[in-house]
Symmetry: C2
Subunit: 318 residues, 2 copies
């Protein structure tokens, strides 16, 4: 019998630390070829779009997908899991909480993986919206950073956000007076905006810094200056196939002749030791995370198993 889980139930079943551990294991498994992940399918309609992200972890016997609709009135996320052993439908669950956590965790994971010895150093976060909460949580949990600087256009918003995050994380989160102040000496720079215009220019990034761009995923996205991809010593993405159709910044950098796709490395190849990550302290590394379906499916699998163990959720009639 399949299980139905609400967002509220999922919140009780999943922490950022667990999400980080799941992604760590998943990226290793992907390097071993145990993961199937399909590029996002988008269906556009007037005023919004509908998205499907299919994936599977074959050695776990799990396939599934996240789907969501986005409109000006809000978004609705669901994750569906199937067993590959003939068990069929296993679970239908809300996908909002999992999306937020895994996006923050992926940023934290990438920051730790790519910052090298500087991991744990100061973090600059550009953006102060809902998802920025998860980005701060993810990067603090993954790297142990204690100095987080927030920059966003509106002073009131960034200050309120920093105060809230300092309280909830218990580490030093403060609003910066300028982008420059936020970025100065940062080991990791996280961008998390919905901006179509660059919020981070190439000349603002100094040797040794690791940039994780995880803002809105769409070909029109442009929170990073295309020139930064040319300046970077290493460009990392969460999925090459997906990035080629969705990572607008890299697509534009490619069209401008500033970068060649053969220089772009998939994060799991670094996780698994198949490709080099950071090899020198002074390298500039830019990591563009679009979000991939296997992140949702892998996390949802753990949520499902925990819910079954604890007797949480609604058993759906067959």
């Amino acid at each position: 019998m399949a299980l139905y889980l609400t967002e509220g139930e999922i919140s009780q079943l999943l922490t950022m630390d667990e999400t980080l551990a799941i992604l760590d294991e998943m990226f290793q498994a992907r390097a071993r070829g145990e993961i199937v992940n399909k590029p996002r399918v988008r269906v556009a309609y007037p005023g919004g779009n509908y998205n499907l992200m299919p994936a599977g972890w074959t050695t776990h016997g799990i396939v599934g997908h996240k789907t969501y609709t986005v409109t000006p009135k809000g978004a609705s996320f669901q994750i569906v899991l199937y067993g590959t052993d003939g068990s069929g439908l296993l679970a239908v669950m809300g996908g909002g909480r999992i999306s937020g956590l895994r996006t923050g965790a992926a940023t934290g994971y990438a920051a730790k993986l790519l910052a090298g010895a500087a991991s744990g150093g100061p973090v600059a976060v550009i953006g102060a919206g809902f998802q920025a909460t998860m980005q701060v949580n993810g990067v603090v949990a993954a790297t142990g950073a204690t100095d987080v600087r927030i920059w966003s256009r509106t002073q009131e918003k960034r200050e309120a956000f920093a105060t809230r995050m300092a309280e909830s994380t218990g580490v030093g989160v403060r609003a910066a007076a300028s982008a420059e102040e936020a970025l100065d000496g940062a080991a990791v720079i996280v961008t998390i905006t919905a901006s179509a215009d660059p919020v981070l220019m190439a000349d603002q990034v100094k040797p040794g810094q690791t940039v994780i761009a995880a803002g809105i995923n769409s070909w029109w996205k442009g929170e990073i200056d295309p020139a930064l991809y040319e300046k970077a010593d290493l460009v990392v993405v969460d999925d090459i196939d997906n990035a080629k159709v969705e990572a607008g910044e890299i697509m534009r950098a490619g069209e401008l002749g500033r970068i060649s796709w053969d220089r772009v490395v998939a994060i799991h190849d670094i996780s698994g030791g198949l490709r080099a990550g950071r090899t020198r302290a002074d390298q500039i590394i830019v990591c563009n995370l679009q979000g991939i379906g296997i992140e949702d499916v892998a996390v949802a699998e753990v949520v499902y198993r925990k819910a079954k163990e604890r007797g949480i959720g609604l058993e759906l009639p067959a």
Copy 2:
């Protein structure tokens, strides 16, 4: 609040006649550009596969998908519907009953559309498995045929199937003694097998006959002799993009140089009068139906609306 519907509830809410009416309306709407349909996404895993079929009817404000897993132990089908107006998740329902009915209805619809004045004449059905039941129901309901001949390899199976279908439909359904006997004078030939080897050769099809091939969808499918696509005066499919990656028979006929894709017509273009269907009584027409997501989504929308009206189904907690 979203609605969950079981296969049993859906069976009470949907008839073949209604399914035919929905597909008729949908194909007309597709000719007017109101439909979005994405090619099936397949995720293969050891022993089976996982499939996603996204689609939307924008003027109805509905998007959704069917997903299913197939393994030797059986298949599990689900359909999920979303509102495009910001309402988000509308329904999660079993997709088995709807898949069966819409596949039969699509065959019936195509038979009526393409057989012209001969529609209602004798029907030969090759195959006597589960889905053949729905094909007989669909073609009888759509065309009013009263003479249905069943051919399959195993005498006992085809005779039991014919007896059962004669009882349930109330029209003349009989097992043929040979494929030739089944095909002789048939206006419509329906193939519904999982065969990778042709069960219908080009020289078995005579002028004026309409062939509807709706057996297992996969690039390795081959229930129709590739030469029949060359012999045909008109080749029709339910979706050109999908057929190019899934209709193994036409793909092989194309590779053998027997057919060019620009000769292949989408059924909705005939429904909407944009392309010619049958123009002469002696034409051979071959229609290859892979099944498309919008068939599932359009039928599920009506099931959902009827269930809401009648208070059927389980309201899922948010």
